[in-house]
């Protein structure tokens, strides 16, 4: 059973566009929601994270929107650049366990 569901599987946008990647979860005990960026041949790198006490967090061109009642969160990339082309993973953790649960990833391509 997938604890965190991520969509879309792949995404192609033009440079300057705003790709949006969505994730949904079921476990209301989750209290930490990070996003990771992964380039080919590299390990995932922590990009930005949010806790459920806020509805939005911005770091540079990256924004997380969080909807606690809907149990959904999303990543927005403002003014996307070809260098943002990578695979993005959402994740969730919290509750009594010490585990992170990852989405299946979104392959983003930004066309110049």
């Amino acid at each position: 059973q997938q604890q965190v569901k991520q969509s879309p599987q792949s995404l192609i946008v033009q440079k300057g566009g705003i790709p949006i990647i969505n994730c949904a979860y079921e476990n209301t005990a989750f209290d930490y929601f990070p996003w990771y960026q992964q380039f080919p041949g590299k390990g995932p790198a922590l990009l930005i994270a949010i806790r459920p006490d806020v509805s939005e967090k911005k770091e540079g061109r990256f924004t997380i929107s969080f909807n606690k009642s809907a149990k959904q969160f999303s990543l927005h990339i403002m003014d996307s650049q070809p260098g943002d082309s990578a695979t993005y993973f959402c994740a969730a953790s919290g509750g009594t366990g010490n585990q992170f649960y990852f989405g299946t990833g979104t392959s983003l391509t930004v066309i110049p």
Binding site: Q6, G43, A45, F89, A91, S93, N98, G105
Partner: protein
């Protein structure tokens, strides 16, 4: 890279042989994790450790064992490798003041079981 190294970086082995992957960290973090990454599945937790000799299973632990005799090293062993264990394996550490917080990943080990 949070001071995480993995060895080997690439390995090809035959079905039925034991394989050990090593994760080494230099910053004395308490929590360490082993994941496997496969297309369409994202990252799935195999085992994790919350201290020396303290380990627990993740969602895909069958066929794997781990050991942590020192804070800095976390070993993943495939007891008898199978083709289904062909994957990219990532080690991660959890760095932060809470029980779990920011998680940082190593560079990965690509394992091929023939």
């Amino acid at each position: 890279d949070a001071g995480i190294t993995q060895s080997p970086r690439h390995k090809v082995t035959e079905t039925g042989t034991p394989v050990t992957l090593r994760c080494h960290q230099t910053e004395n973090h308490r929590y360490m994790y082993w994941y496997r990454q496969d297309p369409g599945h994202g990252l799935r937790l195999i085992h994790y450790s919350y201290g020396v000799k303290d380990t627990d299973k993740g969602e895909v632990s069958d066929g794997y064992s781990v050991s942590r005799s020192k804070t800095e090293d976390f070993l993943l062993t495939l007891e008898s490798a199978t083709s289904s264990q062909t994957s990219v394996y990532f080690c991660a550490i959890s760095a932060g003041q809470r029980t779990i917080y920011e998680q940082y990943f190593g560079p990965g080990t690509r394992l091929t079981v023939t």
